[in-house]
Symmetry: C2
Subunit: 264 residues, 2 copies
């Protein structure tokens, strides 16, 4: 009692296309092929094999994994690995759902938070206590001067990557501990002001802020809130990265700054 592919398809609930594909992939070879017509002929006993394959596919095992299993590889470890994989997928989806619900509650969607993988880099840094935020400009300029004086010909990365961090745990309007950093291609000489650091690669939640620096507070508040509400673990102080500013854009509206909040 041999079954033609259409009949076997109905019994196994696999499409004809799928059965032909599984034959090509070596998962389920028809018991016989009619010499004359080339018709595939299946036995009812093969329904069991079809069910096994279908069961594994329903658990999102790939054709290759199933082939390995059918060739005798035990399935225990495959099950464990698949469990890990699915758990990871599930937690990814949890984050996405959380983000979607977070976004749904917003009115204007001013910011687009993005998870970026920051590459490792080498920076020089200068740390200073500022009287007010206006002094950041001085810090930036004087750090660059001092570093170049100390290391003539030192090259910055291209494109530029430079940022400020505010090292106080809280927001302050005066006596602000700030650190300016700029990425360079290799380390150089240090002194009591300039230090070189190797920043490790890592993930960061990033948003862009467009416009004057006075409004940056909003962006900071947003990204920290975003991280907390969506289950990210904050792994450092935010970096305030200067992209467009007074040095290349006339209009304050065109200034562009990125806030990068390191997370795990």
């Amino acid at each position: 009692m041999m079954l033609k592919i259409g009949e076997f398809s109905k019994l196994s609930m696999l499409t004809v296309k799928t059965l032909r594909y599984y034959e090509k992939e070596g998962l389920l070879i028809p018991a016989a092929v009619d010499r004359q017509t080339g018709y595939r002929l299946y036995e009812t006993a093969q329904l069991e094999d079809a069910a096994r394959i279908k069961a594994l596919r329903q658990l999102h095992f790939s054709v290759e994994e199933i082939r390995a299993h059918l060739s005798g590889t035990p399935i225990r470890e495959a099950l464990l690995a698949k469990e890990e994989e699915l758990k990871e997928k599930q937690s990814d989806i949890s984050v996405m759902l959380s983000v979607i619900r977070f976004l749904s509650e917003e009115k204007e969607m001013k910011y687009q938070a993005v998870l970026k993988e920051l590459p490792a880099c080498i920076v020089y840094s200068e740390e200073r206590v500022l009287k007010n935020y206006g002094e950041v400009t001085q810090l930036v300029l004087e750090s660059a001067q001092e570093c170049l004086r100390l290391n003539p010909g030192l090259e910055c990365t291209k494109p530029d990557y430079c940022f400020c961090e505010y090292l106080d745990g809280e927001h302050k309007e005066t006596d602000i501990r700030a650190r300016y950093s700029q990425a360079v291609v290799r380390a150089g000489k240090e002194n009591e002001r300039i230090r070189f650091r190797s920043l490790p690669a890592g993930k960061a939640l990033c948003i862009y802020h467009k416009g004057a620096y006075e409004l940056l507070g909003e962006a900071y508040a947003y990204i920290v809130n975003y991280a907390q509400k969506n289950g990210y673990e904050i792994a450092g102080v935010p970096r305030e990265c200067y992209i467009d500013g007074i040095w290349n854009k006339e209009s304050v509206q065109d200034w562009l700054t990125e806030i990068q909040l390191p997370v795990k």
Copy 2:
């Protein structure tokens, strides 16, 4: 200050390939193209667009959905739809994880439970109270005889689909209410024994049982346990479908029966 694709790639954390692909798909068109060299030139302001796209991609929006959003389609409904989609995915994964843990606890993996979509069909049925399970054979044979006597030339489906259901809520060894059904291409005349029914399409958990009918109880126990442990809602009594049996296989070991448990 225009950026070449490589620089823009580093700032946006999108690969060069991806940027070229997004241009082709109309998501992110470079602000300018050098007439001489064909080099793409991006503006820093486009980093915002890149971030928006990247954010949506991280929420698993497709390129087409993002394109719709960028062309002005509001994103609210898209967010809601995506939330539903992700919730569904998550519950699918929950079931898979449950099944994997269920399987991991087993020793021999004798059965492969598969979720099948059963198509709608028309059957004739006869119901009867049996003294014992051995009388099933009589029920099958006599129902077929009676139905054909009543409806000469009535066609059964190809391939055959026939099954028994045991209608008592509990397991019994005597006075068993059983119903035999066989799929036909269209309904016919009825009498006090033979009734025609239209079975709706629906999902069912299915396993194959190989061998003598005495051991079918094990398969029943397995499939019901499987359904309960993995969160399926049972939607009817199991169907015992006869595929191979005494009518076409000599050896009892080759008899093949499928148990189909309707679920939602």
